[in-house]
Symmetry: D2
Subunit: 148 residues, 4 copies
């Protein structure tokens, strides 16, 4: 864990990285909350991103959960690291039915190069998640000119 | 496996279902090939769907691999079934760098209600995949008015 | 969820099933606690079950986490169901170093036929898990003579 | 990939590492074949390792698949590396019913520090696998006195 970096600086580098993710803008993702080790994002229903039964496509859900987990991991990495998703497993527990979807990513344990996170997706303020993710992120340091 | 259904009918129900997936149209996904137990789709680079380093976002890759696996599973299900993703694991083996991405989904084994598939994503005709998926799909039969 | 069954009956069918798992006896697994939706088991270090560096083999850890998740799922299933593991993902966050390993399985969400659980493994009373599991279990009803 | 090392030396370091895995001896695992990027192991039915219905416990299957994938990864790593499992996903496609189980691990793609493999388990010479694994392994270099 990187606890020396001021919270302000950590928030700034996460916001800067999210702004560079065109996919987040295309999906209309809103950044709800960041703390060290935990990120919350929200996504509104949009019929451009639906599957064949009119619910949100799992791919849209997975995109945001992946980003929430990735930024939760990034929040505990050193400032000169950048973050990549190694692998994740997503369970779709129920259709993504609703208007507003809240997605959380939380660090389970952070090692030197690998950070494991869990994500959960909730519809319209429901208490039980409709999707759950377990994700493995990696910190990279070595590519000049690449950050975030 | 459902081998009694004519190939024509199987192709027709898959095409009809894909057409109802608005997410596929939004991503600009092209259906390349369908045979029983195997589906191939293609996705072009589009900077609306990028991550922070300018590569295609893992969420776009996962969306198409998930659909390729889902339709591979659907191709071996009885005509009155519809298909849902239960869970998948995706490994991102390299950045999604390229112009045209080919995604395959293939049935590993089909049971009565669960079908397990593997997916692979290739960039610009490369031989080695840049992403690999293992997915569990379920056949559903019981919701009136729902199909595909 | 199956909330009509008395807790006593639920405990009895879980204990009966565990007693039939020879693998649990071979590993020396201890049943620590059962409540509806959550099961805790313990495993002692044993050099018969080590990997090449002298730590507990991931297979031993996974066996017990899988059983803890499976019985957590089983605890919320109807009495005539039996439980099978469909798939799980395990992250090994640190070596399994210690003398006594506590493994918990907890239901995230239970559907009609599929139950998703999360498992965590802790060494010697540590607060942070050294392994995390996300598991998909299925309830089966239809094989005469098979239960648990 | 590490192609400079002679095949003999690669076989020798894999055999030496397997011999240090007490879990493999306890399960009675047999090393069937090794080539660079692919390892095959076999396991005989043993009622010490069964689940509640008398089939082989998923934990025994997962232990051997994990080792087959781990050694497939190890076979392409530099001689001074040692291998650790980061995470794997296993699908149990059918009960492990049979007398002799063959497990294969194969490298999908090897990066500098992470190697992704796929494993399959077959019962009594069947053509279709009864279990499938997707595994992420890591090469470690930095702990003095640790190898394999």
């Amino acid at each position: 864990m990187n606890q020396a970096e001021p919270a302000e600086a950590m928030l700034a580098r996460i916001r800067a990285s999210i702004e560079r993710q065109r996919m987040m803008a295309t999906l209309g993702v809103e950044l709800v909350a960041i703390e060290r080790g935990r990120v919350e994002m929200a996504l509104r229903y949009d019929d451009r991103f639906t599957q064949q039964h009119g619910f949100l496509h799992a791919g849209a859900v997975a995109s945001v959960l992946d980003s929430a987990c990735g930024y939760a991991a990034y929040s505990v990495m050193p400032p000169d690291a950048w973050v990549l998703t190694v692998t994740y497993t997503i369970n779709l527990l129920a259709p993504a039915a609703g208007q507003r979807f809240t997605m959380t990513g939380q660090v389970v344990r952070a090692g030197r190069s690998l950070v494991v996170c869990r994500g959960e997706a909730f519809a319209d303020g429901a208490e039980r998640p409709f999707a759950a993710m377990q994700a493995t992120m990696t910190a990279q340091y070595d590519r000049p000119g690449v950050s975030g």
